[in-house]
Amino acid sequence: MKFNKGAVIDEPGSTEKNKTGGWRDKKPVIDKSKCTKCGICWVFCPEGAIYRNEKGEFEINYDYCKGCLICAEECPIKVISITEEEK
């Protein structure tokens, strides 16, 4: 194992290796048919786990979504539903 002085990590982006989706126990789901693509969920997601696909739709990357549900709270037209995580 490599121990750099000062615990400095000289490999950028290594956080990606740590998939935090497993922490989730409630799962937000976007109803794309009703979504107006305002992007507020994307702004508020503290993990950067919401992204825009090629069609311009907002999607959640469940590899990193921790299930904080801020997106569902902030969605102005309430089209992000909260479902139980299947474990």
Binding site: F3, I9, D10
Partner: protein, 380 residues
């Protein structure tokens, strides 16, 4: 150039000669004049640096960390409550292995509120993994600031340094100081070569989380660095002597009259200067060992120099309540391994700015063999 300046001014000029680029400061008595002098040097164009007026000492040291990771030398100065407010940031600076240098004009901690000198503030930060040097004169403050950068920046060390000097007794006393030429200090210190820094071409994560499976290894590295610092301090002290003609003992301890001493006095800081006058006037064979580097602690050096001594008086200007004087604890534990252990007594003197008088030092020497803890010159 020889000039007459105060300890605070000596600290500021010492820092200036090392060319720090960022100096975040929150002023606090008795260190304020250091900050004032630095701002004057910047205003006069003698020092090319950014002085940041921060909103607290916590921010001051945080700003030092931020600047230092960008690859420049930094400096700050504080005392007492200011240092206490920095407490958590101290551990960040050392854990990130940043060679920050900080002046500390030692002062008591509240309550009761007290602005005068003792060493409770810096000694309370004993375990923060900072190097701690205690000075005896204004000259030594200036010289130690320069040495501290050289020691801290050594890639085998990479730990921050506190240059401690007694509040008022040194900070506010003006005396002759030999100020070295800028070019000489430039030659001695060289450019700052960061071990790591923020760099767009080579991105890094600084300040990451360490899980239980790695944390201890990083902490062990800090202890290894402390041990290496001992040798580095000695080497830098010798190099400094060669360049500037001044040195302070072996860098770790400064011994006086110890050749055939039967008794000895061990202490930190400026009171050792007054103690020399006392010892010179005594008929007994009494020596003085001034602990210059409190961290790393010179255990081996103390064992060597104290073997053969029959009684030791350790003077403390800080107390670990519920146990004993801070330096006394350290000295006792260092000397435990001696085959013939001397008697050691502890003398608590000069808390909260009470004057350390010659009588108090005489009393300590006289009672060194009592094996007791004395609070000297206190009222009933």
């Amino acid at each position: 150039m020889k000039t007459l300046i105060s300890g605070n001014e000596a600290c500021a000029i010492g820092a200036k000669l090392c060319r720090p680029k960022v100096i975040p400061v929150y002023p606090i008595t008795p260190s304020t004049h250091t900050a004032e002098k630095i701002s004057e040097l910047i205003a006069n164009g003698e020092l090319d640096a950014e002085m940041i007026k921060v909103e607290s000492e916590h921010s001051a040291l945080s700003a030092c960390i931020g600047a230092q990771v960008c690859g420049v030398r930094t400096f700050t100065v504080t005392a007492s409550q200011g240092l206490a407010l920095m407490h958590e940031v101290l551990f960040n600076a050392s854990g990130l292995r940043l060679p920050i240098v900080m002046g500390v004009a030692n002062r008591a901690l509240s309550a009761p509120i007290n602005i005068w000198g003792d060493q409770s503030d810096a000694l309370a930060e004993r375990d923060s993994s900072w190097l701690q040097f205690y000075c005896e004169s204004a000259q030594e403050i200036l010289d130690t600031v320069i040495q501290a950068y050289k020691i801290s920046e050594n890639h085998d060390v990479l730990l921050p340094s506190m240059v401690c000097f007694d509040g008022f007794t040194l900070s506010h006393v003006s005396e002759p100081v030999d100020v070295p030429e800028q070019s000489e200090v430039d030659e001695f210190l060289g450019d700052y070569i960061p071990y790591y820094k923020f760099d767009i071409e080579n991105p890094k994560t600084i300040g990451a989380l360490a899980f239980p499976d790695t944390f201890m290894e990083f902490k062990k590295q800090q202890e290894d660095a402390m041990r290496k610092a001992k040798e580095t301090i000695k080497i830098v002290n010798k190099e400094f002597s060669k360049k500037f003609g001044r040195s302070y003992g072996d860098g770790l301890i400064d011994a006086y009259n110890m050749e055939d001493a039967e008794k000895c006095l061990i202490a930190l800081g400026s009171l050792c200067s007054t103690a020399k006058v006392v010892v010179d006037n005594l008929r007994e064979k009494v020596g003085i060992v001034r602990v210059r580097s409190f961290r790393p602690f010179p255990s081996n050096e103390l064992r060597d120099i104290c073997s053969g001594v029959k009684a030791i008086a350790v003077i403390d200007r800080a107390f670990s309540y519920g146990h004993a004087g801070v330096l006394y604890n350290e000295v006792k534990s260092a000397l435990y391994d001696l085959k013939e252990r001397p008697k050691i007594s502890n003398f608590v003197i000069g808390l909260g700015g009470r004057d350390v008088r010659k009588e108090d030092i005489e009393f300590s020497i006289k009672n060194a063999d009592k094996n007791e803890i004395f609070w000297v010159n206190t009222k009933e």
